[in-house]
């Protein structure tokens, strides 16, 4: 399969985006934007179909096609992805920054939905809370703070006196053709890197790899002794003492099932843990954060601290310290220029 269809679809999408960037108050602008929407939508849909057909055309090592082995197409991902792309396009082309920020929230929500399909539940909700809840509100604050007054020279100049349409620099894009060309170059090269001849992305992880990942997940429960004991107690309420290590490991994983050896009465017994005892996604992320990336975690806190200092320094009102204030601080008399007599005295070099 040649990748040219992929690039052609990307080019169609790029043309659509270019047409979408025409200001709507130029002659025929609205029609151009509608046409651009349709062309861009067609281009993105074409690319989606192309990517998915390429993905399902790969075969497993035993020769069976992937699409039957994985239960069809990722319908939620396609819907959420189209929503994200449409909202991002609208954000880039919208003439009012406040609306653009609201469209960015839509992108964030769609991305969070995509995270859910990828089994990243914690990150999905963290994204909504941190991005849509905190960062975007900061952007909104600054947008409101820096609102252009209607008397500003930026308003209404250019095409017609449409004050409601926002400022001139928001309505007229800068070098849209060159930008779309560069964007298409990025799109084509990234698509090539991902979807053409990328062996890593064409091979489904083997059953052995899945089993290893599953065993790793079970073994991470060993680092949470209190939870492990609670889970075992739920199965065997009359256990005595702590779980006993076998071959240096508290948990033995065989065929995807985890067993723990505990003392019941004075007899050791192997207890099989239920699937619900596996660490949740939040626990996994937290464990990886503090056990695999402790130095990065410390660095992140330093970055946040420095950003806080920086924001305080930047936002502080600059106070001009002139000669008078310095003399006040030193307990000396002001060289005020308001009193004409004193100015004359000072010019004469006299003391008073």
């Amino acid at each position: 399969m040649t990748p040219y269809a992929l690039y052609a679809a990307g080019l169609i999408g790029a043309i659509g985006l270019y047409l979408l960037m025409r200001p709507s108050d130029t002659p025929g602008g609205t029609q151009t934007r509608i046409l651009g929407t349709l062309i861009g939508l067609a281009g993105v849909a074409f690319m989606f179909v192309e990517v998915l057909s390429r993905a399902s055309a790969y075969t497993l090592s035993d020769g069976s096609p992937l699409s039957t082995a994985f239960g069809g197409m990722p319908v939620p991902s396609v819907i959420l992805g189209m929503a994200a792309i449409a909202a991002a396009t609208r954000m880039v082309t919208h003439q009012k920054p406040v609306y653009a920020a609201l469209y960015f929230i839509l992108v964030v929500v769609s991305t969070a939905g995509l995270f859910l399909t990828l089994q990243a539940e914690f990150m999905a909700f963290a994204l909504i809370i941190v991005y849509a809840g905190a960062i975007l509100i900061t952007y909104m604050f600054v947008l409101m703070l820096a609102h252009q007054s209607p008397s500003s020279p930026d308003i209404g100049s250019g095409w017609g006196g449409d004050v409601e349409g926002g400022t001139r620099y928001d309505r007229v894009p800068r070098e849209p053709f060159v930008a779309v060309l560069i964007g298409f170059g990025v799109l084509a090269s990234l698509s090539h890197a991902y979807f053409v001849d990328n062996a890593q992305l064409q091979v489904k992880p083997s059953d052995a790899a899945v089993a290893t990942a599953n065993a790793d997940l079970w073994h991470s429960l060993e680092t949470m002794p209190r939870r492990l004991k609670a889970e075992v107690k739920r199965v065997v309420p009359d256990m005595v003492g702590e779980p006993i290590a076998v071959d240096g490991q508290l948990i033995q994983v065989r065929d995807g099932k985890a067993t723990v050896r505990v003392m019941v009465g004075d007899q050791p017994r192997d207890v099989t843990l239920p699937d619900t005892a596996q660490p949740t996604n939040t626990q996994e992320v937290g464990l990886a954060l503090v056990s695999s990336f402790p130095a990065s975690l410390e660095l992140a806190s330093v970055i946040l601290l420095m950003a806080m200092f920086g924001a305080v320094v930047l936002a502080r009102k600059q106070i001009e310290i002139g000669e008078d204030e310095r003399r006040d601080a030193a307990g000396m008399r002001r060289l005020s220029v308001e009193d004409p007599e004193m100015v004359r005295d000072a010019a004469r070099g006299g003391r008073s």
């Binding site: 991002a88 653009a100 994204l127 900061t138 928001d170 849209p176 950003a307 930047l314």
Partner: protein
């Protein structure tokens, strides 16, 4: 064939435990990430409003987060999701500092247009 029909068409949340990723799902997500990144770059180049330019870099960060999580799912490794936490940290720090700078610049010239500051560049002869 009956095996594939038995699987649900729409499966949003997994029932728990590590399962093999679906390759079409990974590809669709990576494709969305690629398109979002390109749109973010186009937006950064075309918008003249300084706040909008920063918002477009946030869009590119989103695309990178999506790729991180997709590759993490492909390799059944949680590190990709941990990276998203760090990206969120940097994005928050960037938003605080960049917006502080933008407010300072707005106070000086009463406009958000990035071209108001074009005198900062070198003289083009």
């Amino acid at each position: 064939m009956t095996h594939s029909m038995a699987q649900p068409m729409i499966q949003l949340l997994a029932e728990g435990g590590v399962t093999a990723p679906s390759l079409p799902l990974i590809h669709a997500t990576l494709f969305v990430s690629v398109v979002l990144f390109s749109i973010g770059m186009i937006g950064f180049l075309t918008r003249r409003n300084m706040i909008m330019m920063f918002l477009c870099t946030e869009l590119m960060l989103q695309a990178a987060c999506l790729a991180f999580v997709a590759f993490g799912r492909l390799h059944m490794d949680v590190s990709g999701q941990v990276m998203v936490i760090f990206v969120l940290t940097v994005a928050a720090a960037e938003a605080a500092l960049a917006l502080g700078l933008v407010v300072l610049l707005y106070r000086k010239k009463e406009t958000l247009s990035s071209e108001a500051w074009s005198e900062l560049r070198e003289d083009v002869k």
